[in-house]
C-alpha cells in the first residue's frame, strides 16, 4: 500500500521534472542563441532568407506560444530538422541511439561488476594493503579525464601492442564477409540473430576499449560509494548483534551488511548510466563510434541547435526514467524508504 503511494508520488515528481527539463532546454536552445534564424538559413544568408527562416521557425510568435509548440513537438517525437543536414532528427536518433545504448549498458555492467565487489572487499579489509591499493586505484580512475584515458588506451593497445582495433564499431572487411541486417540496432544482438559469430566477435572486440574507458570513472565511484557505505553499516548495532549470535564473517558481510548497502549500490547504477550517456560524447569522437555522442559533437561544431536540444531531451528523459526505476527499486529493497 505504502509502496504504491510512493511510486505514484515519484511519478508525479518525475512528471514535474520532465516539464521543467523541457522548459530549460527550450530556453537554452531557442532563447539564448543570438539568432537561430540566421543559423537555420544556412551559410551567408540574405536578409530575405533570414526573414523566411523566422517564419518557418515561428520565431515571431510570443514566447509562451513558442514554448507550447516546442513542448508538444517534443512530446510527439517531432524534433524537427537538422539545420545542417536538413534530415529529420528523429530518423537520425533512431539510427544512433542503439549504438550509444549498447555502449552505455555494457560499460555500466563493467563498472558495477568491478566497483561493487571491490568496495565490499575493501570495506571488509579496511586499512589493510588490499584496501589501500583498491582505494588508490578507485581514486585514480575517478581523477582520470575520460577523453585522455580513451587516447591512452588507443595508444597502448592499438598502436603499441596492436591487439585491439583503433576505432569504429566493426571492421570494414567483416561488414563485407559477414553482413548483418539491422533489426534491433544493437550490433551484438543483431549479429547473433543473423547467426554470424565472426561479426559478433568483431563487434565485441570493437566494444571493449570504449566500454572500458567509459566504465573507469563509474567503477571508481561505485567502489568508493560501496566501500564507505559498507564501512558505515558494519559499525551499526545490528551487525554487532549478528556477531553476538555467532554468525560467520562471510554471512555477516554478504547476508546482513550487503543488503543494507543495496541502496547506495542502486544509486551507483544511476550515476554510471548517466555518466555513460554523457561520457559517450567524448569517447565516441575518439573511437569514431557512430552513436549519439558523435552526432551531438558534430552538431556542436555546426551550431545545430535542434539536434543538440533533441539529444539533450532524449538522453535526459532516459535518465529521468532510469532514476524513477531506481527509486522504486530502492523502496522494494528497503521498505522503509516508502514510508518517508
Amino acid at each position: 500500500m505504502n509502496i504504491i503511494r510512493y511510486i505514484l508520488r515519484r511519478m508525479v515528481l518525475s512528471a514535474f521534472v520532465v516539464v521543467g527539463v523541457t522548459f530549460l532546454v527550450f530556453t537554452v536552445a531557442q532563447v539564448v542563441p543570438s539568432d537561430p534564424a540566421a543559423l537555420y538559413a544556412g551559410p551567408r544568408p540574405s536578409a530575405e532568407q533570414i526573414a523566411k527562416a523566422r517564419v518557418e521557425l515561428n520565431l515571431d510568435a510570443p514566447l509562451p506560444t513558442r514554448f507550447l509548440t516546442f513542448a508538444s513537438a517534443m512530446a510527439t517525437g517531432d524534433f524537427g530538422v537538422s539545420y545542417k543536414s536538413r534530415r529529420l532528427i528523429l530518423e537520425d536518433l533512431k539510427a544512433y541511439l542503439p549504438a550509444t545504448l549498447e555502449l552505455a549498458v555494457f560499460s555500466t555492467a563493467i563498472a558495477l561488476l568491478f566497483g561493487v565487489p571491490l568496495g565490499v572487499m575493501a570495506a571488509a579489509r579496511q586499512g589493510r594493503w588490499f584496501d589501500r591499493l583498491a582505494s588508490l586505484s578507485a581514486i585514480a580512475s575517478v581523477a582520470m579525464p575520460t577523453f585522455f584515458l580513451a587516447m591512452l588506451l588507443q595508444l597502448i593497445f592499438s598502436q603499441w601492442l596492436g591487439v585491439m582495433p583503433l576505432s569504429g564499431r566493426t571492421s570494414r572487411e567483416v561488414g563485407i564477409t559477414d553482413p548483418v541486417a539491422q533489426v534491433t540496432g544493437f550490433l551484438l544482438i543483431d549479429s547473433l540473430l543473423a547467426g554470424r559469430p565472426a561479426a559478433f566477435g568483431n563487434a565485441m572486440l570493437h566494444l571493449i576499449l570504449p566500454a572500458l574507458t567509459l566504465a573507469s570513472y563509474p567503477a571508481g565511484v561505485a567502489m568508493r560509494l560501496t566501500r564507505s557505505a559498507m564501512i558505515e553499516i558494519l559499525q551499526r548495532r545490528h551487525i554487532t548483534a549478528a556477531r553476538a549470535l555467532g554468525l560467520s564473517q562471510r554471512r555477516i558481510l554478504f547476508g546482513h551488511a550487503l543488503p543494507n548497502a543495496m541502496g547506495p549500490a542502486l544509486t551507483v547504477i544511476g550515476l554510471s548510466f548517466a555518466f555513460a550517456l554523457t561520457g559517450a560524447v567524448l569517447v565516441e569522437i575518439i573511437f569514431a563510434w557512430p552513436g549519439l555522442g558523435r552526432y551531438v559533437s558534430e552538431a556542436i561544431l555546426a551550431k545545430d541547435f535542434p539536434v543538440i536540444a533533441a539529444v539533450t531531451m532524449v538522453v535526459t528523459i532516459c535518465y529521468v526514467v532510469m532514476n524513477l526505476i531506481i527509486d522504486v527499486a530502492q523502496a522494494l529493497v528497503d521498505p522503509r524508504v516508502a514510508l518517508t
Binding site: A29, P145, F148, Q154, L155, F275, F305, T312, N323
Partner: protein, 279 residues
C-alpha cells in the same frame, strides 16, 4: 609540518604539496616556463612537432611551441576555471539550499523542485548545451559548468539546514525570540558554511575535469589562449604518431584531479563531512 602529516597522513600531505605546487605554477608561470613567449602563444615554426628532447622536455606542438611552457601557462586558465566554477556554484547553491532547508514548507518545495530540474540532466550534457548556446569562451564555459554544479551544493546545504533547524539549540534560540536572519547568521551559516566551503575547495579538481571536457569539445577558451583540455584536443589531430602533444596536458589534468581527490579523502577521513558523489 609534523602536525600536517599527522592530520592528513602521508598521501594527504603529498597531495597538499602538489596542489600548492600547481597554484605556484599558475602564479609564477612566466618565471617557471622555459620559453615564456611560446607559453603565452608565440609560434616557433622552426621546431614543429619535435619529440621530447633536452631542449623541449615534453616536445613541441604543431606551431613549434614548447609543450611544457604551454602546459605551465595553461595552469592559469585551468585552475581559475575550476575555482570560479566552484565559487559561482557555492554562491548560488548555498543560499538556496539553506533557505530551503531552514524554512521548509513551500519555500523548500519551490526551491527544490527547481533544483531537481537541473539535477535531472546528466551533468555534462547540460553544460554542453549551455556552452553551445552561449558560444565558446572562458567565462561562458565557467557559467555552463556552474549551472550544472550548484544544485549539488543546494542539496547538501538543504540537508544540513534541515538537520540544524531541528537541533534543540537552534529551536532554543528561536524560542528565545532570536530573529531568523540572526539565527541563520549565528547558528546555521557557521555550522554549514565552513564544511561546505572546504568541500567546495576540494571540488576544484572534479570541476576542472568537467571544464577540461568542455574544452576538449571545443567549447572552452579560444586560441591563442590554451587550457589543458583544449591542448589534448589540439594534439588529437597528430595522435597517436605525435603522442607527446596530448600526453603532457592529459597527464597534468590527471595529476591535479588526483591531488585534489586524495587531499579531499584525507580531510574527510578526519572530519567526517558530507561526501559528494557525482560528476
Amino acid at each position: 609540518m609534523r602536525r600536517v602529516i599527522y592530520r592528513l597522513g602521508w598521501p594527504g600531505t603529498i597531495a597538499l604539496l602538489c596542489v600548492m605546487g600547481f597554484i605556484c605554477m599558475a602564479l609564477f608561470a612566466p618565471w617557471l616556463a622555459p620559453y615564456p613567449a611560446q607559453g603565452a602563444g608565440a609560434p616557433n615554426v622552426v621546431a614543429k612537432l619535435s619529440p621530447p628532447s633536452a631542449d623541449y622536455w615534453f616536445g613541441t606542438d604543431h606551431l613549434g611551441r614548447d609543450v611544457l611552457s604551454r602546459v605551465i601557462y595553461a595552469t592559469r586558465i585551468s585552475l581559475s576555471n575550476g575555482i570560479l566554477i566552484v565559487g559561482f556554484s557555492l554562491l548560488i547553491g548555498l543560499p538556496i539550499g539553506l533557505a530551503a532547508g531552514y524554512f521548509g514548507g513551500w519555500v523548500d518545495e519551490a526551491l527544490m523542485r527547481v533544483t531537481d530540474v537541473f539535477l535531472a540532466f546528466p551533468a555534462l550534457l547540460l553544460a554542453v548545451l549551455m556552452a553551445a548556446a552561449m558560444g565558446p569562451g572562458f567565462l561562458n564555459s565557467v557559467i555552463a559548468v556552474a549551472v550544472t554544479w550548484w544544485p549539488w551544493y543546494a542539496r547538501l546545504a538543504r540537508a544540513e539546514g534541515m538537520v540544524l533547524r531541528g537541533q534543540p539549540y537552534v529551536e532554543a534560540a528561536r524560542l528565545a525570540g532570536v530573529s531568523h536572519p540572526r539565527i541563520i547568521l549565528r547558528h546555521i551559516l557557521p555550522a554549514t558554511g565552513r564544511p561546505l566551503t572546504v568541500q567546495a575547495a576540494l571540488d576544484v579538481g572534479p570541476a576542472l575535469l568537467t571544464a577540461a571536457a568542455l574544452s576538449f569539445l571545443g567549447l572552452g577558451v579560444l586560441p591563442p589562449d590554451a587550457d589543458w583540455g583544449q591542448m589534448v584536443d589540439a594534439g588529437r589531430k597528430f595522435f597517436p604518431a605525435r603522442w607527446w602533444y596530448s600526453v603532457a596536458p592529459g597527464l597534468t589534468i590527471f595529476l591535479v584531479a588526483l591531488s585534489f581527490s586524495v587531499l579531499g579523502d584525507a580531510l574527510r577521513d578526519r572530519t567526517k563531512g558530507p561526501s559528494r558523489a557525482s560528476a
